[in-house]
Amino acid sequence: MNRYSPFQLTITFAAALILLFIVAPLVGMFVSTSPSDLFATAKDVEVQESIKLTIWVSFAATVIFALAAIPLAYLLARKEFPLKSIVSGIIDLPVVIPHSAAGIAILGFVSRDSVLGQMGSAVGLNFVGHPAGIAIAMAFVSLPFLINAARDGFAGVPVRLEKAALTLGASPARVFFTISLPLAWRSIVSGLIMMFARGMSEFGAVIMVAYHPMITPILIYERFGAFGLKYARPVSVLFILISLTVFIALRVLARNKIQKSDPHA
């Protein structure tokens, strides 16, 4: 096709427009933040604490919930059961409902009056205003990303390989850990990274459950409300930079590990 045909020019223009739309605000924010402001913000203990909290709580939420979410994904990929499509729909629910509404729902779920809240109180744990509550709110809105990616990963593993392993004397558990899980690993890792990323960036659900301790998205909101755009901007830039570094590092690590275990993948 002619590179300069009207059709080609139109779609190239549309593509450029969309890219610009995504990149321009971010670049604008980076450009209007002076290095000295950024440096000062990086030394701000409140900012440091908040970024640390955000990363480790999201990480913990991802790892803990993955232990049950991965088996669920396997079930969805492999087993047929009544109302399966409804179950799949329920899993996507956190993506489509407003996150502030999700936060309200979670608040009710973990507050002192609830069963979970009372169980927590019994061991001296109050979820509201506690990292555990933040983790639950983050997990609620980010779980679909892991479950869906892991389910696709498991669905992509040929059933014949699992059957073959069974005929070779492996128990179903051994088949899961030696065949299904390693072959779906690439998708699962990408799901884990997505869940972690989505958890870190969550604002609406978390703010309902815990204003304090303050995760970075809430800190940005607070600085904007109290001091204005000029003070919110350096925190935003710093948080984006650190998030990007973490994701790129995770992706590179994951890719190296997968390539090491299978050079032809």
Partner: protein, 361 residues
């Protein structure tokens, strides 16, 4: 050899009226038994239910009713991993994330063997299937034939009581196929009982001690290749053996001759004298002579017919002639030219009564 190979006929595997049903397909009341050390072939067209049956024997498909006995033990509801049955899938199902050695060692895990014992077993098996140099390779670097050998080695390493093979030669070229056939024969000669599924007649005849023909979820006929293809029980089995002239007939007696009637207005003299009133007749393509005019021959069966179709075959020309029934004749290319055969041309068909084989049903 076939008769002496397993004198005392110990049943290694016995299926008693096995039925299975899956969405869109079912197996009905399948019964047969396989002797210890036997090479048993399940022959049928694709979609006949052969693979389904193998998976049912291995435990991968649930059995609805019937009994499955392995070495005298009821395994109908035994867990798959405790059956001691090896299964090689049509697409080999070699684990892509494991090396060849890890694949072959997979069944040995949890068997309380030391590393040197494992290496010894793997060494023996890979020697047998001739892949000792491939041990550290990744499956994605192997050819189809090599993958087939890896899959065989992996199934054999657990010393299965019975080895099930699903179309093991289907994805290989003819040279490789001959090598793999020789390997399968060798494995069988070492005492390994084998059930092998195929749709290929030549493959079945070249390997089988006994054959079972499957069609639409049922076993149609079981026996040695000579029994099955010498006495096909129906047109389906005959067709498999490449026999095209196979007709259901009514039998009548006329002047001391037995006459078979495959159609109302077609009467075929047959050499047989069995007293029965119906059955099948079978005429080999090569036994049919064609001529352009009627002539006095020693053959009792002479018909005038019309050529319906003719096409080249492996050993000459295949000619279809309608004499009330459609007969297949096998003639040389030269004869086809000499007789100026073409569709629509009238020809005379001759065959001896003694070349008509009667199969009493």
């Amino acid at each position: 050899m076939r008769e002496t190979k397993y004198k005392n006929l110990i049943h290694m595997l016995e299926l008693r009226e096995i039925s299975c049903s899956l969405p869109g397909f079912s197996l009905s009341e399948i019964s047969f038994s396989v002797a210890d050390g036997e090479y048993f072939i399940l022959l049928g067209e694709s979609g006949a239910g052969k693979s389904l049956l193998l998976e049912a024997i291995a435990g991968l498909n649930p059995v609805k009713s019937g009994t499955l006995l392995l070495d005298g033990k009821d395994i109908t509801h035994e867990k798959i991993q405790q059956r001691g049955i090896g299964l090689v899938f049509q697409d080999q199902a070699v684990f892509p994330h494991l090396s060849v050695k890890e694949n072959i060692a997979y069944p040995l895990k949890g068997k309380h063997l030391s590393n040197s014992e494992k290496d010894k077993i793997i060494g023996e098996i890979t020697g047998l299937v001739q892949i000792p140099k491939l041990l550290n390779r990744r499956p994605s670097t192997l050819s189809g034939g090599e993958l087939q050998r890896v899959a065989l080695a992996r199934a054999l390493v657990q010393k299965p009581k019975i080895l099930l093979l699903d179309e093991p030669l289907s994805a290989t070229d003819s040279k490789l196929r001959a090598e793999l056939r020789a390997l399968l024969r060798q494995i069988n000669r070492l005492g390994q009982t084998i059930i092998h599924v195929t749709h290929d007649f030549d493959e079945a005849v070249s390997l089988a001690d006994r054959i079972a023909i499957m069609n639409q979820g049922s076993i149609v006929q079981t026996g040695t290749p000579q029994e099955v293809f010498g006495n096909p029980v129906n047109g389906f089995v005959a067709h498999f053996a490449g026999i095209r002239n196979f007709y259901r007939v009514k039998l009548e007696k006329h002047d001391g001759h037995l006459i078979a009637k495959p159609a109302e207005n077609v009467a075929v003299f047959i050499g047989d004298t069995s007293a029965t009133d119906s059955g099948y007749i079978l005429i080999r393509n090569e036994d049919i002579l064609l001529s352009s005019t009627a002539f006095e021959s020693s053959a009792l069966n002479n018909f005038e017919g019309t050529v319906v179709d003719l096409y080249p075959s492996r050993s000459g020309m295949e000619v279809l002639i309608n004499i009330g029934i459609v007969l297949h004749a096998q003639i040389s290319r030269e004869s086809a030219v000499k007789l100026q055969l073409a569709a629509g041309k009238k020809v005379w068909v001759h065959f001896k009564a003694s070349s008509v084989k009667l199969i009493v049903s």
